[in-house]
């Protein structure tokens, strides 16, 4: 990739939005490490994204939905009469009080924890296999995100792989697609907190020859067992 390509592709924006993966991401990283202009673009862009996140977290009103009010006569004016409005207002105050004292502080604390820089527990499924040996134990705090690593043996017959985590009854907990290009390297999967509940799971990887979008099909290429539990 040269500088003209990077500008034409809006590569810095794609990179910062997480839209690049595989060979293109590798190419762009190699390019901006050696191109002062693109490096400055990436640095400034990353600073903008991080700072926007911080600002909006502290001052959500900067991006709040615009309030729209329409006052009309008739039935709307009728419900504003004190006999109806006063009890309704008391109920609303009680709800708002509960939210202000309990719900919102809890959500703010969760949001602050979710968005703050932190370490990410990671668990490797590289050694787990389908032969029923002792499965990997994924143990995290409740609602804590974590990463799973696995190797997919690339097969030129497949253009994309699906990685699906199934519970003990075979129900899918989540599924994602991995392009064949990404599968050439160790695949790391970010799992948001609270996506799984404690219990045994299996990661089933299927190769798909059809274009992306094929669902429920594919050829199973590997499965890795693991159990999920909460740290006490």
């Amino acid at each position: 990739m040269n500088h003209s390509d990077a500008v034409r592709l809006k590569a810095a924006e794609q990179y910062l939005l997480g839209e690049m993966s595989g060979p293109l991401r590798d190419e762009f990283e190699e390019h901006f490490m050696g191109c002062a202009e693109c490096a400055a673009d990436v640095r400034a862009g990353a600073a903008f994204v991080e700072s926007t996140r911080a600002v909006l977290r502290l001052d959500p009103s900067l991006a709040a939905d615009p309030a729209t009010q329409r006052v009309s006569s008739g039935w709307f004016a009728a419900i504003l009469r004190p006999a109806i409005a006063a009890p309704a207002l008391l109920v609303l105050l009680a709800i708002a009080g509960y939210q202000g004292i309990v719900t919102i502080p809890r959500m703010k604390a969760q949001l602050a924890r979710a968005d703050a820089p932190r370490t990410l527990p990671e668990f490797s499924l590289l050694a787990a296999n389908s032969r029923g040996e002792t499965p990997v134990v994924v143990a995290v705090q409740p609602d804590q995100p974590f990463a799973l690593f696995l190797d997919i043996r690339p097969d030129p017959a497949f253009s994309v792989y699906t990685c699906e985590v199934e519970d003990a009854s075979g129900r899918p907990a989540f599924s994602l697609q991995v392009p064949a290009g990404e599968a050439k390297n160790t695949v790391q999967i970010f799992v948001p907190g609270s996506r799984l509940t404690p219990g045994p799971y299996v990661m089933v990887v299927r190769g798909i020859a059809a274009p992306q979008g094929a669902r429920g099909g594919g050829v199973e290429v590997m499965r890795s067992h693991f159990s999920f539990e909460y740290l006490k």
């Binding site: 910062l16 939005l17 990283e29 994204v49 991080e50 820089p117 370490t119 990410l120 143990a139 690593f149």
Partner: protein
């Protein structure tokens, strides 16, 4: 930060352990490596280790007789070494024991306005930019960067396509970049001046 150009002269100064050049080299690539490694969800403690090891290996190669032969490819070399160190980290992670209950919980991090890339100044700049944006774009940035919603869902909700995100980010970034670079150059100039004064005293 852009007072140095990666040319033959820079390479020779780096090889000869010029302190200013070495400081610039580490500072310049440290941020870029941090961005690259964070994009892959590598834990912070591992990012620091990978960066350290990358700098050690690159500087060793720069100073060896059989090392780098194309000084203008220094950036690509740093990237390549970082990739190698990162793959070694993945392989060694697969061989380590799983976290057990005796491992202490990670510290609960609160909002850190003085953290990586985020400063009071950058936040003030972002506020200025956000105030100038239409309400729709502000909400879109919130959905993208704070709520981290699925992008396809955001497209449906806002009636836009992926290109809209890129154009929005491009324009906001361009507004931000000019202010950001002025601030960075001032800070970088002060840092280099301080390093120079220390060097002269030493």
């Amino acid at each position: 930060m852009d007072l140095f150009v990666f040319d033959e002269a820079y390479f020779l100064r780096l090889r000869d352990r010029d302190p200013l050049t070495e400081s610039h080299f580490v500072a310049y690539f440290s941020e870029l490596l941090q961005i690259k490694l964070r994009a892959r969800f590598i834990p912070s403690h591992a990012i620091d280790d990978i960066k350290q090891e990358t700098f050690v290996r690159v500087l060793k190669a720069v100073r060896s007789d059989s090392g780098i032969r194309e000084p203008e490819r220094l950036g690509a070399f740093v990237n390549s070494v970082c990739n190698n160190v990162r793959m070694e980290f993945y392989r060694s992670s697969s061989r380590t024991e799983q976290t057990d209950e005796r491992t202490p919980d990670p510290p609960d991090q609160t909002v850190d306005l003085e953290g990586f890339l985020v400063t009071q100044q950058t936040c003030a700049q972002v506020r200025r930019i956000l105030r100038q944006l239409p309400a729709k774009d502000k909400r879109l940035l919130r959905a993208l960067f704070l709520e981290e919603k699925d992008k396809d869902e955001i497209c449906r909700e806002f009636g836009v396509d992926r290109e809209y995100f890129r154009v929005l980010l491009h324009r906001a970034k361009q507004s931000f970049r000019e202010m950001y670079q002025k601030g960075s150059q001032a800070a970088g100039g002060k840092a280099l001046l301080f390093a120079f004064l220390l060097y002269m005293e030493g």
